[in-house]
Structures are given as C-alpha cells and as structure tokens.
C-alpha cells in the first residue's frame, strides 16, 4: 500500500489525490483535442465543461452520502462533514457531471450532442484514477482462492477501520476495473464512435460500465446496505434502468436506420 506518494516539507501528496488529478488532466487533454479538432472550442463549451466539473464533484460526494449519515450524526459531527470527508463515488461523479451538462446545455440553447467527446476521455481518466484507489484503499476485494488473489501486510490493514478480507488473498477488484476502462478506451479510440447517433457511444459505454460495476460490486468488499446489495449497486439500479430505457426508445424509434443519401452521379 502506498497512501502517500511524496512529501515536500509540509506538503503531502496523497496517492489517491495524485492519480485522480492525473486522470482528470489526461481526460481533459483528450476532450480538448477532440473539441479543437471539430472546431467546437468556445465560450459555451467552456461553460458546459465547468458545469461538468462542478456537477461531477458535487455528485461524487452526494450520491452515496446517505450510507454514512447515521454514523456522522451519532458521532456528533455536523452533516457538512459528509461533504468534506464523506465517501466519494465515481458513479455519483458521472451522474452529477451528466446532469450538470444537460442543464447547462438547455439553459444555453446548445443543441449539439457533445457526449461522444467524453467517450474516450472518461475511461482513460477512470483507468488512471483507479490506480490511485488500488495503491491506497482497502479492502482490495472479497477473499478469493484464485491464483491472482492479492494479500496486504497486517500493518497496512491495521490503518483501515474496516477490512474484512485483509487476512488472506483478495480479489484485486480495482485492477479488474482498470482492465475494463482500458479495454473501452482502446475500443473507442481505434474504432471511433461505436454507434451512429451522436452521444450514444458515451451512453453505451456508461451502460456497459454500469452493468460491469454492478457485477464487480459483488467481489468489491463494500458494505452491504439493503437486500444484499451495496450502496453503489442500489444507486446503479435507476441509472442503468434509465440508460436501458434510452436505448430501447432509440431502437423502437428506428433512429439507427440512418437515412440514405442520394447516390452520386457518375
């Protein structure tokens, strides 16, 4: 485990924070390049991007905050503690960012779908960000007897208030997720938009990630909250349902049967 990456005098660089920032930076570079390539850089897209960051930051803190509200209050801490020190979830970050983008575009009257410009940037950012999780968070996953199960030292495990599987080999669930994101990133960057409709490549990736994450939660080692499901799984149910509904509507509308152009006259 490597919770602290470096110390420069009074400044401590946390591994998780470093990789989160690195992932965001890499994602923004890709996003910026894609927008510049298509001549879309300008004031409106800057506002939309700022909204995405704000909405993402807020959503990441809020979406699973209900898991710890009882603990925070019973400890006598103000509820604002949840915002400053509470759990963060990338699912909330994605949902909050998406909602903020939709709202801002509506307000600006910006009609072009820009989702596909994020389609390669998000998996790259998440893959890099998850490296920080892997190096600094426990548990890695549920106990496993598979040959690639990973163990941590008792000293590292003792630093965490809850680590049920730390006594033996655990699923490296963050590595599974990194593999998923890198696979999605490679597919999108080599094939381009996977679907002909603007924005649907991003939605397809989000749907695939939602389903993947729902499954991976069973071996993640997160606390079960209700009906045998973890907090992220409960949050994912409506989000995945909404994305499924979107694709069902798209299929039924026939939008994927693109109008044919007039043939060229030789």
């Amino acid at each position: 485990m490597l919770p602290v990456l470096a110390r420069f005098g009074p400044i401590t660089i946390g591994t998780h924070d470093f990789f989160t920032m690195l992932g965001l930076l890499a994602g923004f570079v890709l996003y910026y390049r894609a927008l510049r390539r298509d001549g879309l850089l300008g004031g409106p897209i800057t506002l939309i991007s700022v909204a995405a960051v704000l909405g993402g930051a807020l959503g990441a803190r809020l979406i699973t905050s209900w898991e710890v509200l009882g603990d925070v209050q019973s400890a006598g801490l103000p509820l604002t503690y949840v915002l400053t020190h509470g759990p963060k979830s990338i699912i909330g970050g994605l949902a909050g960012g998406y909602l903020a983008i939709v709202l801002t575009k509506r307000a600006l009257g910006y009609t072009l779908s820009t989702g596909d410009y994020y389609a390669a940037a998000i998996p790259l950012a998440l893959a890099i960000g998850r490296v920080g999780c892997f190096l600094s968070e426990l548990p890695l996953g549920t106990p496993t007897s598979l040959p690639w199960g990973m163990t941590v030292s008792p000293e590292a495990a003792a630093a965490f208030p809850r680590c049920p599987g730390c006594g033996g080999p655990m699923h490296p669930s963050m590595l599974y997720e990194i593999g998923f994101h890198l696979g999605a990133f490679a597919l999108i960057t080599t094939r381009g938009p996977l679907l002909p409709v603007r924005g649907d490549t991003l939605k397809a990736y989000l749907l695939a990630y939602g389903l993947f994450r729902f499954g991976i939660e069973f071996i993640r080692g997160n606390e079960v909250q209700w009906l045998g499901l973890t907090g992220p799984q409960l949050v994912l149910i409506p989000l995945v349902a909404w994305l499924l509904l979107h694709f069902i509507r798209q299929l039924r509308s026939g939008v994927y049967r693109m109008p044919r152009p007039q043939p060229a006259i030789a």
Partner: protein, 154 residues
C-alpha cells in the same frame, strides 16, 4: 464525380444534429460520393448547428422545469438522509426541515423565475444560472439538514 455538391451539403445539414460525422461520412462515401468532396463539405458546413445564441422561449420553460425537478429530487434525498439519521425519531427536526426546505426552495424558484422572465436573462447568463443551480440546491439540501439536526440535538 459530384456534379451537385449541394446534395452533399444538404445531406450533412439534415443529419448532423442527430448523427456523428463518421457515420455521415461513411454513408456518403458508400453512396459513391468522392471522399475528398465529402471531407471538404464536412469542414465547410462546420458545427454551425451546435450553438444557438438566441434560445427559444421554450428554453425558459425547460430551465424552470429542471429547477423544479432538482428541487423535488434534492428534497427527497434530504428526506432519505433524515430517515437514516439517528435524531430523526427524537422529534422536532423534521417539521423544521420541511418548512425550511419548502420555504427557501420556493423563494429560490421564484427568484429564478423572476430573473428569467422579467430581467430577460438569456445566453451566457442563463448558462451561468444553469451551472449554479446544481450547487445551489445541493447547498440548500445540506444547509437545511445541518440546521435541522442542530435544532434536533438541542
């Protein structure tokens, strides 16, 4: 050969709002159009449909509808938080939360409505308002939670 380049432009303009440039390019080329002419047309037409500097009146209604949805959704999340908080059943805090949330929330909604309709807020400022709505309602939710829980404890 493309004796009528406007046919390519018309096809691009008709479909660019819905379909990706890659899909449009593939379709035109597979219909026999010159790839270079298609590329030039894609560059020439540009992403002009992306930005409408004068939002339609319907956009105002859309903004207000979203404000209401956010207000209700954040209220429900706040209520769920209270339902899980230990002081919820000790009494006192829930009515305060409800009154504060509805009162402050309605005031903000009315302020937004006034700003949008009377001041004629649009374009860049409407965008800033859209950006601000999410953190405003988030802060509203948690602010009332903190206030209500501190009253509940005393």
């Amino acid at each position: 050969m493309d004796p009528d380049p406007t046919a390519i432009d018309d096809y691009i303009q008709a479909n660019r709002g819905t379909y990706t440039d890659e899909a449009i390019r593939d379709n035109l080329v597979s219909a026999g159009h010159d790839p270079l002419a298609v590329e030039a047309a894609l560059r020439r037409t540009g992403p002009g449909t992306a930005w409408n500097p004068e939002p339609q009146p319907a956009a105002t209604g859309g903004l207000m509808a979203e404000a209401w949805i956010l207000f209700i959704a954040c209220g429900l999340i706040g209520l769920a938080g209270f339902a899980m908080a230990s002081s919820f059943s000790t009494g006192g805090s829930f009515p305060f939360f409800l009154i504060a949330y509805i009162g402050i929330g309605l005031a903000i909604i009315l302020l937004v409505r006034w700003a949008v309709s009377k001041v004629g807020i649009r374009g860049l400022w409407a965008g800033i308002l859209g950006v601000a709505l999410v953190p405003i309602f988030g802060a509203l939710m948690f602010g009332t939670c903190v206030a209500a829980s501190s009253i509940g404890r005393t």
